[in-house]
């Protein structure tokens, strides 16, 4: 079930009302309702995937107990941790990476001059959001192993934690210490939390339906027909893709956080206006924060992080970004995308500027940014957009051809929308969206922070009108990150 579907429009109020009325007696009933709703939500795509998620839940619930029971015998605890990782990574391996590795192997052998036909690839569908929930369950086992968490003895709570529908298919990837502890407690409804949730849902829907969905046909067209477009169009295509993917993913996250709030649960922030980042390090502190945090806690720090020699630190950075690329998809394009980010990050790290902007935003104490900040933002946005050529292209060859055209066919021609729409509408939309995001840049959890009730009402109306003005009946409304 998609957040932006009519089905969800019926589903959410129904579950919300049941949750706070019929099932309000105690937290156990509420968790049972969360499980039923979540399994219905997930099974809407394909009920067979429910077995997979149930299996993953059961394995990690059991493994969590085992790790905890062997806390004083570190070796045994580690075996159980490895068992959890083997199972979860095995799931990912089979469903997401198996075909990729087989095909890559066959290609490599062919390059060496041997002819080999790939007969071992599997005809399987990638279950929606598998990378998200497997990482979430792994974090549970890790936290118990590192003694940051005690395993829950409540199976219902644990199933609700793994399957909690607002963040099940595309994050934020929650740590058990945050989400499970809330699920284990009795929740009570507060007006402030509910109203804040509704606002985030509205803002997320706007970002998805207006920004992402209206740019999708343009981006699809440019990337599919890049060979016939000049550099000016190709540059515009990749810039618009940056806005599309941001609107799509951060829109999803806002809806997820807003929906969770309606059920009395606070999820972590996942996006903090990454388009205003002043260097790549800041970008990664603002883009897909839950994934970066996961990698930092469970991969970078165990590898030694930055508290090892410079050489090892650089190695760790490379590992993190390459794994992050691979996490996104089983394709060399994602690995190159990750490698590029490592390449952009390393100079910032070597200059010791990777934490410079960790605690402040652009124009922190002023109304307008300085010229230096503007330049920094432009360069960072340019680098990120450039790397997204690989992220969006179907193959590495396509990506290089795309880049090649940018540098060899540097001509300008005005772009005509594939469906004939006036392009000015979209340029204006992006400009207004950027200005609005700049105005609210200090608080990603509160997109309508205006003192006047009338101003808020005006903004709500404009957003809903925007959704109507850019609604396109013929579009595929799925979220980009569902494929990961």
């Amino acid at each position: 079930m998609l957040f932006n579907s009519i089905e969800f429009l019926v589903f959410l109020p129904t579950v919300f009302l049941l949750y706070w009325t019929v099932f309000n007696k105690n937290q156990k009933y509420q968790n049972i309702l969360i499980i039923i709703a979540s399994y219905l939500f997930y099974g809407w795509w394909d009920w067979r995937f429910l077995l997979l998620i149930l299996l993953s839940t059961m394995v990690d619930y059991y493994v969590g107990q085992r790790i905890y029971s062997h806390q004083d015998k570190q070796k045994k605890a580690r075996y159980w941790l490895w068992a959890s990782m083997a199972f979860n990574l095995g799931l990912l391996g089979v469903f997401k990476y198996y075909n990729f590795f087989i095909d890559s192997f066959v290609d490599m052998v062919s390059q060496a001059g041997y002819q080999m036909r790939s007969v071992w690839t599997l005809q399987i569908i990638l279950p929606v959001g598998i990378s998200f929930y497997t990482f979430q369950t792994m974090s549970y086992s890790f936290d118990i192993y590192y003694k940051k968490l005690e395993p829950t003895r409540n199976l219902i709570s644990f199933i609700a934690f793994v399957s909690f529908f607002p963040q099940l298919v595309a994050g934020p990837i929650e740590r058990a210490s945050n989400l499970l502890s809330q699920i284990d407690k009795k929740r009570s409804f507060t007006y402030e939390q509910g109203s804040s949730g509704i606002k985030l849902i509205l803002w997320g829907l706007f970002k998805k339906l207006v920004i992402a969905d209206s740019l999708a046909p343009i981006v699809d067209d440019i990337f599919a027909n890049y060979a016939s477009y000049p550099a000016s169009t190709l540059i515009m295509g990749v810039c618009l893709f940056s806005f599309q993917v941001y609107g799509d993913f951060s829109g999803y996250t806002d809806i997820a956080i807003g929906t969770a709030k309606l059920f009395g649960i606070e999820l972590m922030s996942n996006f903090k206006f990454p388009n205003f980042s002043r260097n790549i390090a800041e970008y990664w502190q603002r883009w897909h924060v839950s994934l970066s945090t996961w990698f930092r806690h469970y991969l970078y720090i165990p590898l030694g992080g930055s508290r090892v020699t410079k050489y090892k630190s650089l190695r760790n950075i490379c590992i993190i970004f390459l794994v992050s690329g691979l996490w996104h998809g089983a394709n060399w394009t994602f690995i190159i995308w990750g490698a590029l980010h490592a390449l952009f990050y390393i100079p910032v790290f070597l200059m010791g500027r990777n934490r410079t902007y960790a605690d402040n935003v652009i124009a922190e104490n002023t109304y307008l940014p300085s010229l230096k900040e503007l330049l920094q933002v432009a360069v960072t946005f340019g680098l990120v957009a450039f790397s997204r050529i690989f992220f969006r292209s179907q193959s590495v060859t396509d990506a290089f051809s795309y880049i090649n055209r940018i540098f060899t066919d540097f001509t300008f021609s005005s772009y005509v929308h594939p469906l004939g729409y006036r392009m000015f509408d979209f340029y204006l939309l992006i400009a207004l969206f950027t200005v609005y995001e700049y105005l609210i840049r200090k608080d990603e959890r509160n997109p309508f922070k205006f003192n006047s009730r009338y101003t808020r009402l005006f903004v709500y109306t404009v957003l809903v009108m925007g959704i109507l003005l850019f609604y396109d009946d013929g579009i595929n409304r799925s979220f980009i990150y569902f494929q990961f």
Binding site: L2, S5, I6, E7, V10, W20, W44, F189, Y191, G194, S195, I198, P217, D220, L419, G420, Y421, R422, D425, L457, Y460, T461, V464, M465, L468, L469, F470, Y471, D472, D473, G474, I475, N476, R477, S478
Partner: protein, 342 residues
């Protein structure tokens, strides 16, 4: 909780009211003049309505319509006489022309190209050949005075029935309270036009709406087997023959306007053998550098209508002029008085 629900409902109501105001102020909604079935069993619009037809979410196409006293969208009243040269164009929404200002319609374009000619557009969204031939037959007194009839035939859609029956159900449905409410609440009319209501309808009938939309831009080509195509072609030809035998078809002054790219050779050969005149606009559309249809739907745009008008004029010049007096149109009634040129 109660405060939350009450305030949410209040906010929703205020926002809806504001949206209704915006939709009305910027005329984002489209108007659909009421329809009825007259005493001859002809389905048409209620005369006397003037308004605006709007296409697209953001007023991408905005045009005024005018329903004349005969119940059709036209700048002119239909008053055929034995003196002038009148052309009747009968067809569906393409001829009705709600997508173009009524003062710049295909008919007006023909009149501008051929001074002295009067063009009567009997266009109505949803007409097929059964409707068209029934209309010509029902208004035969008028059509006897008309010198040239052009029937617009969309081959794939217009030959699917062998007999005409007035669609009272549709008229009753459009006059039902639900549709009346929709017409009065402009926001509802607007969201219905842009397709949002279709999602609700999809949910109501139990369909998974999002699944059907996947790849909507890419997989819009249907592959049809030859057998199925042949069966359809012979059925369409049979329907054509039955309708013609029921209502008649004056070959001496009737031509069929069609797109040969979308018309079966079986039907084209039949017309050729039977001596039925064809006005084919495929070649001029194909050769056009400019788009010929609107952006948001398949109806002809201004340029497309100009090409259609030019095709009809060329046809008339080639087939309905007096060989002795080049440029002089032959009326079906050999009235000795000259046709006024202005």
């Amino acid at each position: 909780m109660r405060k939350f629900i009450l305030k949410s409902v209040l906010y929703v109501c205020v926002i809806l009211l504001a949206l209704e105001g915006i939709v009305r102020t910027f005329h984002l909604y489209t108007e659909d003049p009421p329809r009825f079935i007259d005493e001859y069993g002809v389905e048409k619009r209620v005369p006397g309505y003037r308004g605006y037809a709007v296409t697209g979410n953001r007023n991408q196409n905005f045009s005024q319509f005018n329903i004349n006293s005969s119940g059709f969208n036209s700048a002119r009243e239909f008053a055929p006489s034995t003196r002038g040269f009148e052309i009747a164009i009968v067809g569906d929404s393409f001829i009705e022309g709600f997508h173009q200002d009524y003062r710049n319609s295909t008919g007006i374009k023909i009149e501008n190209l051929m001074p002295g000619v009067e063009v009567y557009k009997f266009g109505y969204a949803g007409y097929d050949l059964a409707n068209q031939l029934h209309l010509i037959h029902a208004y035969r007194n008028q059509f006897e005075l008309i010198d040239q009839i052009v029937i617009y035939l969309n081959y794939e859609n217009d030959l699917n029935r062998e007999t005409y029956t007035p669609n009272h159900q549709r008229i009753a449905m459009l006059a039902s309270p639900v549709f009346r409410i929709r017409d009065h609440i402009k926001l509802l009319s607007y969201v219905s036009k842009i397709g949002i209501m279709d999602s609700f309808k999809g949910l109501a009938v139990g369909g998974n709406n999002t699944a059907a939309k996947k790849g909507a831009y890419r997989n819009n080509i249907m592959v049809e087997s030859e057998d199925s195509r042949n069966r359809k072609d012979s059925l369409r030809l049979e329907n054509f023959k039955r309708l013609v035998s029921q209502y008649g078809f004056d070959k001496s002054k009737t031509a069929i306007l069609l797109d040969t790219r979308k018309t079966s050779n079986v039907f084209l050969n039949f017309c050729s053998v039977e001596g039925i005149d064809i006005i084919d606009f495929a070649a001029s559309f194909e050769a056009s550098d400019e788009p010929t249809t609107l952006i948001y739907d398949a109806h002809w745009n201004d340029h497309g209508r100009t090409l259609i008008a030019a095709e009809i004029v060329t046809f008339l010049q080639n087939n309905r002029t007096d060989p002795a007096l080049p440029g002089k149109l032959l009326t079906s009634y050999k009235d000795p008085r000259p046709i006024p040129t202005n």
